[in-house]
Symmetry: C2
Subunit: 446 residues, 2 copies
């Protein structure tokens, strides 16, 4: 059975905000915070397997360094916040292997731009988290903390699992198809994929020029928002900070949309979303039904094509030089991508452009669209990471999207819903997401 | 004695254009071109020492691959062009050591953006050229082909020497103070530093956020222009290609300016520039005298301060972890930079902003300013790479600049002159430079 509107226990609270508050007020040192998280990691990591690299001694040393910064320094808005880094993202003090045997032991010379921004803001970089092979579909070792026999989703598997298990308050992910939204949804946490390009990709292993987007895994919208404020580009920042406000904003208008793949969602997911709409209306929020333009029906197929084409361009020659160190499934993707004609690729890109031009109209009367994040609960087994079906369109359109843990599936496991915003309206999307979360606490208890 | 207006033998001809023409017309295969350059390198490298890494077998294999591309393909405008890559710039198939023992044997995972663009355009990446330590002032092993007892200049030492010696038609450099203009000037070739940011810096080891600029070393303005057309950012491209035209454009207006450091140039350099102005006027070109605003007098000191501050920020903690692998002179720079106050740094940045706001007026009546590129001939000895005195201001202002080999010093060695353009007028600067080179061939023979 699906019980809608009930907030996930995993997602209540804002552990990131709590850490920042403790450090700023002098209640806890960064060293104490680091040790508390390392203790949790030590206890849970043998089962969860979220990390590909973690050096507790280096984390403790970095924490002691951060304790020399005066608390409350405005230059260090993330002072003492432990953050996990998906191992697709370069760090200059830790190996970065991109989930591939081709890069076993690889040491980048420099931090990725987003890592540099985190460190400059006082964040405590705490280990590298498991990614699937080159952020594609061949899974890593990580288990879903909600049910160890299930996949945590991918490709940001380790980041989602570490945050869901309470090993870290926040972690970086990336999304090319559904790699932030899906694992967040499966693990019962918040996954935020900003507008394409809102977070600098410099130093993130590129697999798809058009699609790769850096995102955040967290336990609350507020925590995602606090980190996003630091790592977003100045172009994305627009006129200042998110100006985060708590409480249900009655003026929020949410458009419930049924993508062409709607019937492929599990019945409990569909029922959950329908029930969510009725409950929102009951409590006086605007929950509209929004029709997607017919051209949008082709976006999922177009995303598959663009991704296969670009991933093949990015990885094929490298992987085929040492095919014995590459998974058969990735080699198959690379072959498939190489057989796509430039004409087909261009047609897919043109469809995306055409649909992007429709976004202003589509978002004219609503703050965000609400669509499924995933088909349903995390699939059993670790041999696959689940289907990014309901994310592909929005990633191709480069829209900001956020997964909120508002549903449960037939086994009582978390299922996210996906809020999608118009391009470059990340602030408004975060505000809308916060309204929905606050509403779920205030109004939707069973 | 200084003989002005006489073109350097080293700089005549456009070997890059000749290569492209030979490949496009089928006159020579890429493999033949590669072998011819490898033969030159083998003959001269023992004396010049321009390369830090070169794998002839890999170059030949890449050349054979390029020979499978149909000649004249519009997607491969640089098909078969050998290009050297300064070892500050990442390559995914060759070590990249940034001139530092800290990175001995370092293998980047990815090509820098500019290298990727070159490869995509069909260029033949031919080895990594010597850089000074982290592109600062501690020299590498390279000798000046014009006089082996003299420095080739730095930090793009290997790129300038390889191009000057005919080992390569074109090579990439970078400039933070004067590292493209100065070695070009000392080696008697063309050095082009585009407007800041016109060539993507992704994958170039950063030492100064405000100053680092990717540039080109070549034997002719046309060759620099052809490569720039491929690697420039789309923002820099503006409305299409450079539209390169040969011949003296009589409407060209050149403003001869005397920076406050003018008297520190060698007498022969000053006399050479004065004589150049008279000859230009004699042949009917507009060669004006342009006064620099008084505020510009502080720019050289401001650039030193900004550079020391930012280089220290970028390198200090890394270098001080293993000081035994870092030159004493760099450690001294890092200490000096660390002692600069944020207030002084901000004041220097503000002066730069104030002066940038004056650029539209300054360039109102002229296409380019002509100023010294260097004090004079390359200094004797290899223990230092010469003074970037006359480049610092323009690098801080982020203006495009090009060094043209139009003078000779008292020992008959090449001395460049520097043409500087307004921000984002790179196309016009290249056109002006070409006019000056064409004029020097047509009118200025002794």
């Amino acid at each position: 059975m699906s019980s809608t509107g009930r907030p996930q226990t995993q997602a209540t609270g804002s552990p990131g905000a709590a850490v920042l508050d403790d450090v700023a007020s002098g209640r806890r040192t960064v060293a104490e915070i680091a040790q508390a998280h390392l203790d949790t990691i030590r206890a849970l990591e043998p089962e969860i397997q979220a990390f590909v690299h973690l050096d507790p001694r280096a984390v403790r040393a970095a924490a002691r360094e951060l304790d020399r910064v005066p608390p409350g320094s405005p230059e260090r808005p993330l002072l003492g916040l432990p953050v996990g880094i998906k191992d697709l993202i370069d760090t200059d003090d830790q190996p970065t292997e991109y989930g591939s045997r081709l890069f076993a032991g690889h040491r980048p010379a420099r931090d990725a731009a987003v890592v540099r921004m985190l460190r400059d803001a006082g964040a405590l970089v705490t280990g590298k988290t498991v990614t699937t092979e080159f952020a594609c579909f061949s899974p890593g070792k990580t288990r879903n903390p909600v049910d160890l026999e299930r996949t945590p989703g991918g490709s940001s598997s380790g980041s989602a699992a570490a945050v869901a298990a309470g090993m870290l308050p926040v972690a970086l992910g990336t999304q090319t198809a559904g790699s932030v939204i899906r694992p967040a949804s499966f693990c019962g946490i918040v996954g935020f994929k900003p507008t394409f390009g809102a977070i600098d990709r410099d130093g993130v292993f590129p697999i798809s020029e058009t699609l790769d987007t850096v995102g955040l895994l967290s336990r609350s919208v507020a925590d995602a928002s606090a980190v996003f404020d630091v790592v977003r580009s100045s172009a994305s920042r627009g006129n200042g900070r998110t100006g985060f406000v708590r409480g249900v904003d009655a003026a929020t208008r949410i458009g419930f949309a049924r993508p062409v793949e709607w019937e492929r969602a599990d019945p409990s997911t569909r029922e959950g979303i329908d029930a969510l709409r009725l409950k929102l209306m009951d409590s006086g929020l605007e929950a509209l039904e929004t029709a997607l333009p017919p051209d949008f029906d082709g976006l999922t197929a177009a995303q598959c094509l663009v991704m296969d084409f670009e991933v093949s361009k990015a990885l094929k020659s490298r992987c085929e030089k040492n095919p014995e160190m590459v998974s058969e499934s990735l080699l198959e993707v690379l072959r498939r991508g190489a057989s796509i004609s430039v004409a087909d690729y261009s047609a897919a890109m043109e469809l995306a452009e055409r649909c992007k031009a429709m976004l202003p109209d589509l978002f004219d009367g609503v703050d965000a669209l609400l669509v499924p994040a995933v088909i349903g609960e995390a699939p059993r087994g670790l041999q696959a990471t689940g289907d990014p079906l309901f994310c592909r369109s929005w990633t191709l359109l480069q829209c900001p999207a956020i997964s909120l843990p508002l549903l449960r599936g037939p086994n009582g496991l978390p299922v996210g819903v996906q809020l999608v915003g118009n391009l470059n309206t990340d602030d408004n999307l975060l505000k809308t997401a916060q309204t929905l979360m606050d509403w779920s606490v205030e109004f939707a208890q069973p």
